[in-house]
Symmetry: C2
Subunit: 312 residues, 2 copies
């Protein structure tokens, strides 16, 4: 068999990096030749994780077609979130925990999606199903991915399976997951040295919703005011991105990980959809989204539904 590569979405987060590494380990244990890759720079949280467990980052690539003919996707499926040349390769497997959209194959494939908080939670089940044991450092990476995606088990996306996985993986990794998790989230929430360009792209994803092109970025922080103090330059930049990419809507969710709320910076000609979706008023381009911490569960579905019926 030819070489296979595994990668998560663009603007990789901790799950996209760690699940690529973990699934590569699982496949290698099964005797399959694979290489984990990444489609973008590491964020500070993921850098903290890889340093902590002393694992090398996947190799950075800007396209996957030169790497392999067949690829495995983790933590995403939508075309616009994947490698720009994804159309030139064959997707033979997907392991994911998101909705399915803008995804199409001409051949049957292995597709495993479960409505849990994190890809790594599914991978842990796959280790068990295959009778394989999880190496200590890989357990640490998988633990970190779940803590990251569920905001230390507090996000509404978190399921019983994620909680069970965190407990089991913490034991293998030999860490106190609450202490470690808070340190990890804080490392990711230190945004003081980030440029506006970095802030809006660290964890940004594009979506098609009804007839509209939408980008939703999220930054985690322990004090939303740190970011709101830089609102002017963020707005200028968002307007530029909207023009460049032809977006109808850009939502930058600034999420307070200690209090589990978000303030959204909302720009673009379809901004009113956010008012309709959450029954809030946008003032000065910002809206308070009380209790919203999960893009997947609390932003994408409700905005999709609103934009499918929305008229400019």
């Amino acid at each position: 068999m030819d070489k296979l590569v595994i990668f998560g979405h663009k603007n990789p987060d901790t799950d996209s990096i760690c699940s690529a590494l973990a699934y590569a380990d699982l496949k290698t244990q099964l005797g399959v030749s694979v290489e984990p890759l990444r489609l973008g720079e590491l964020n500070p949280e993921t850098t903290f994780v890889l340093n902590h467990f002393q694992v090398f980052a996947p190799r950075l690539v800007h396209g996957v077609a030169p790497e392999a003919k067949e690829v495995i996707l983790v933590d995403h499926n939508e075309r616009q979130q994947s490698a720009s040349d994804i159309g030139e390769v064959t997707v033979v497997e997907v392991i994911d925990h998101h909705r399915i959209a803008n995804f199409e194959t001409s051949q049957p494939l292995y597709y495993r999606a479960e409505p849990v908080g994190c890809t790594a939670t599914i991978l842990r089940k796959m280790y068990i199903e295959n009778g394989l044991s999880i190496p200590k450092s890989i357990a640490g990476l998988m633990l970190s991915a779940i803590i990251s995606d569920t905001l230390l088990l507090k996000s509404p996306t978190c399921t019983d399976e994620d909680v069970k996985a965190v407990q089991a993986l913490a034991e293998i990794a030999g860490v106190n997951y609450e202490e470690y998790g808070l340190a990890m989230l804080k490392a990711g929430a230190d945004l003081s040295d980030k440029t506006p360009e970095e802030l809006i792209s660290l964890d940004a994803k594009e979506f098609s919703m009804g007839a509209y092109k939408v980008e939703i970025a999220q930054v985690n922080t322990v004090d939303t005011n740190d970011l709101l103090a830089r609102k002017g330059e963020l707005e200028a930049l968002l307007n530029k991105v909207i023009l460049d990419k032809g977006l109808d809507l850009f939502v930058l969710a600034i999420t307070d990980i200690l209090n589990s709320n978000s303030v959204a910076l909302v720009l673009g000609r379809a901004a009113k959809a956010v008012e309709q979706a959450y029954n809030v008023t946008i003032s000065d381009n910002t809206a308070n989204l009380q209790g919203v911490v999960s893009r997947k569960k609390q932003v994408v579905p409700i905005l999709t539904e609103t934009l499918e019926k929305f008229e400019l």
Copy 2:
């Protein structure tokens, strides 16, 4: 939780019927309230199977929205192969072994696809993963589905996992799978009392391929001449269906299950795509497709590839 329903594709084949019944049994064993449904008439093969194992057919419905808000799909995912009102319900699970296309959700879901010969092969793994045992009659249905989809393990879609599943299920069901399988396939191949309408719709599926709308139907027979003798009336009917549905291409594959070959009746303005795809000449609207027995593996991918580049 509200009531859930489970169903396979329109023009149901043995896998669509038997996998709906089997997955309903699995879910019921897990304490989930579900009802298996079917979207069309039983074919003679499936009727033989249900009679043999003395299982009632799933209830026939013409739409699923009046039945439940949340649904589970087995043996298909493409919108045009599903219930006509599929857009009005939420798909919470899919168990399938086909390509993924024309499928989109707004919420994460449980999606399990594997590139094996039959949905029932995946379901067998799920019984094992959940530590459940397969009732004798259900094992018979699952066995029948695999024999049907793999033409008694002879189709190129058949994998080692399907072979293993057939052996294990035959033991539970208490049948000699070779004898039983041949009797079952012959029951399905008795087409003498079928009207032309029945022949072209018994196992027909619609596809979008590039810019073209394609329908591919398949009938299994032990003598292709039985059907070719009725070519005139079949052609007249296919031309009518092409007009009614606005199709660009209709391929009726007449498959000789004893010799593993097909003769295709090819009509529609994109008929030349079949010549290109298989490097054959269509004469009198028919083409010999040597060694072709699997729509999924030997027809859909190659026609999709050809039609994506095809110009009328």
